[in-house]
């Protein structure tokens, strides 16, 4: 069971220090594991950063990597979750020629049906933003690429867990 390759979302709470990204990515690199997606941001706690990574590995590997992550001095706590245990999103931005918006009626339908948001429009181009699951963004990309996309970028996955991660309590305990 542990040997099956699964999709895991890794959440790592850390101090906000230079070089920590290198230290964390090195743990994966050393084991020849590709990081499928990576996002870093502030977390719900002041001064604590949160890394969100997606990897495709076995649960056995995942457990060992969590151990390796947590033994890093500046990592406060690391967790891993399956898709079912999280609410997750990714975001994408499309830059498309403005002419198309008027010449190709189909594009307007695609935008409407995909629930994408027009961020800005000018004479040359318009910018479309879409948040959601990867499949939805892939679909939108496929549909729009028929007309030509000037630029495309997709963010790493961000996720919150359905269950509580008791990180605040851990930090509070340290203060005492």
């Amino acid at each position: 069971m542990d040997k099956e390759i699964k999709h895991f979302t890794v959440s790592i709470y850390t101090e906000n220090n230079i070089g920590l990204l290198n230290r964390i990515s090195a743990i994966f690199q050393r084991r020849h594991i590709n990081i499928e997606s990576l996002n870093t941001s502030r977390s719900e706690i002041d001064g604590v950063s949160r890394f969100t990574l997606v990897v495709d590995i076995t649960e056995e590997q995942m457990k060992k990597i969590i151990g390796q992550l947590e033994r890093q001095v500046e990592v406060i706590k690391a967790y891993y979750h399956t898709d079912e245990e999280t609410i997750y999103q990714i975001s994408a931005i499309f830059k498309i020629k403005s002419d198309l918006l008027f010449e190709e009626r189909q594009i307007q339908n695609i935008i409407k049906e995909s629930h994408a948001r027009i961020v800005t429009v000018n004479k040359e181009f318009f910018v479309l933003e879409k948040s959601g699951r990867k499949q939805e963004i892939d679909l939108l990309h496929r549909e729009l690429s028929a007309f030509g996309i000037m630029q495309f970028v997709r963010s790493g996955r961000i996720a919150v867990t359905k269950n509580e991660m008791k990180i605040s309590e851990m930090l509070a305990a340290f203060q005492h």
Partner: protein, 578 residues
């Protein structure tokens, strides 16, 4: 005189702030942490610190090694024999990169070490400046922690953290990179030792129920086997360990880094596990019913093929680093925590036992190993000298009181197998990384940390030449180490593998060696070469009697092999005697 008094006054008072440069602060931080000796090599980006080391030379002894790698190994030797943090210092660029092997060695062998490197001024960072290298980036995967300082004001807190991290929990190396402008900058200095870091828990809490379960399993075991590692030594748990095995009558075997935690002669000491370990503990690993691992990490050189390692046994793992639990061998009971406390708490839960019949099995298998291997190693009848008989002679003349600092290769396995130890922290060797060139510089550090002890470095002719320049350090410092080179004119361990697994194709393992005695004499060391058995005892006697550093080359049989041996990828119980 006035100068010295001023320094004395300021080193005592730390509560009040005072305005000093970053470089002076670095030296003052080292003094605050109790550092007496550090090893290093000067260069452009670290010169301000060396200028302060010059001013503080009556308080802190800087040892100029002949290569920065030597500085790291000397710091490691110092740390391993003293239990204190070893300190190495180097300049930026090549100075810093030359530290890497020693840092990697300290990381895998859990040795507390702080390395300080100079860095180009902060405004030149990233400009490919002269002697600029991203040493923080380079050292990240092989340090327990590392950090770059670009402002003097950071120095006290960061160095305090460095020492705290290096020595707490499972120890390891820390690298602090300090830009040259931060070394020149003045700031208000005040030192406070680090007591804790919120994101770092050095010692995990011990679950009392895991201890109770472990005790129950040990109490009901019919064929228990303890395998202990360096965790017993690093945790200063030797007495607690001895009490546990003596009460429960547990046969106990060691990994090479665990050697000397209890005396070699202790009746419960059943020898070394692993690739070139003893026959009995390897064979019986696959026969015991409970395997009690204490402060060891199931290295592949210890376990052989994991698929057939102690599958019949329940596994108990006493461990300080949670990441080690279930990493290689799945445990039934993990007792997290510090070995000293865990073993102390375990003792009252154990029933007294003797396991007499089970012990007899170890004795019977030892007899087989003696007849097939040990007899020929220690009491050879052939003409050529064996490495084993050299060790036997050193044991005899030092009465097991010497610290043996070995390099890496055949001689290392022989030294670990045959050296007799009475006291802990006596076997200093590069275990996990297998760093050739470790033995000579590590012995310098060991002797400086424990000048009252006899320190004998055992090297092969290959590894010796990787750091042979440290003879210069020995000469300059008059460090009274005894250096033994067991010369077989081969890279012996690789040659052994070529013989056994590569149809005797001796690719690049034959060494055309220089006159080692002349080289040692060039450094004004007393030196002698032994080629015949009848010269050995008197040469070792002369070496041990010397109050000065001494070099002894022993020309041994060229194509001897180290046995027993678990071939790579084989099971521990498939250990070969010939």
């Amino acid at each position: 005189m006035k100068e010295t008094q001023t320094i004395e006054n300021i080193t005592k008072s730390t509560a009040v702030t005072e305005r000093i440069t970053g470089s002076e602060a670095i030296v003052r931080c080292l003094l605050e942490e109790g550092v007496k000796v550090l090893y290093g090599y000067p260069g452009g980006a670290i010169m301000p610190v060396y200028d302060e080391l010059f001013k503080y030379q009556d308080k802190i002894h800087h040892v100029l090694t002949r290569h920065e790698q030597g500085a790291t190994h000397a710091a490691q030797g110092y740390a391993r024999i003293s239990g204190e943090v070893g300190v190495a210092i180097a300049t930026s660029g090549p100075g810093a990169t030359n530290l890497i092997t020693g840092i990697a060695d300290a990381q895998i062998d859990s040795t507390p070490m702080v390395c300080i490197t100079g860095q180009v001024p902060s405004h030149l960072l990233g400009s490919d400046a002269f002697q600029e290298t991203d040493i923080v980036g380079i050292s990240t995967p092989i340090t327990k922690w590392n950090h770059q300082i670009t402002e003097a004001a950071e120095i006290p807190e960061v160095i305090a953290k460095a020492f705290y991290i290096a020595k707490s929990g499972r120890p390891g190396p820390v690298l602090i990179d300090i830009t040259k402008d931060a070394q020149f900058e003045e700031f208000d200095f005040k030192y406070k030792r680090c007591k804790g870091i919120r994101s770092y828990k050095p010692v995990p809490e011990t679950d009392i129920s895991s201890l109770e379960k472990a005790a129950e399993l040990i109490n009901t075991a019919k064929k228990p086997l303890v395998v202990w590692g360096q965790g017993v030594i690093l945790g200063k748990a030797e007495e607690e360990f001895k009490a546990v095995i003596e009460k429960a009558g547990l046969p106990a075997a060691w990994t090479i880094l665990g050697a000397s935690a209890i005396p070699t002669s202790h009746p419960l000491n059943v020898g070394m596990v692993g690739m070139h370990g003893n026959y009995a503990p390897n064979i019986l690993t696959n026969e015991c019913d409970v395997l009690i691992a204490i402060g060891m990490r199931f290295d592949d050189r210890v376990t052989g093929n994991l698929a057939s390692y102690a599958k019949q046994a329940k596994i108990i793992h006493f461990e300080i680093d949670p990441a080690e639990v279930d990493k290689n061998v799945k445990t039934d009971i993990a007792v997290l925590g510090d070995a000293k406390q865990s073993l102390k708490d375990l003792l009252p839960l154990l029933n007294a036992n003797s396991h007499h019949d089970w012990h007899q099995k170890f004795k019977d298998l030892y007899k087989i190993e003696f007849e097939k291997v040990i007899k020929y190693d220690l009491h050879p009848t052939k003409e050529g000298l064996t490495m084993g008989e050299v060790l036997k002679e050193i044991n005899k003349q030092t009465k097991g009181e010497a610290a043996i600092v070995s390099d890496v290769g055949q001689h290392q396995m022989v030294a670990c197998r045959y050296a007799e130890f009475n006291t802990s922290k006596s076997n200093i060797t590069s275990g996990g990384l297998g760093t050739m060139g470790f033995g000579l510089p590590a012995a310098i550090g060991a002797k400086m940390a424990a000048p009252e002890r006899e320190v004998v470095s055992i090297c092969g002719d290959g590894g010796y030449q990787m750091t042979i320049q440290e003879l210069g350090t020995i000469f300059q410092q008059r460090t009274a180490v005894k250096v033994v080179v067991l010369n077989n004119d081969f890279l012996g361990m690789v040659r052994q593998w070529q013989q056994l697994f590569f149809d005797k194709r001796y690719a690049s393992t034959k060494m055309t060696n220089p006159d080692f005695v002349t080289i040692a004499k060039g450094y004004h060391l007393n030196a002698r070469r032994v080629t015949k058995r009848e010269e050995l005892a008197s040469a070792v006697e002369e070496m041990i009697a010397s109050k000065e550093p001494y070099f002894l080359e022993v020309c041994v049989e060229k194509e001897d092999n180290v046995f027993p041996m678990i071939p790579s990828g084989a099971s521990v119980s498939d250990i070969r005697l010939e």
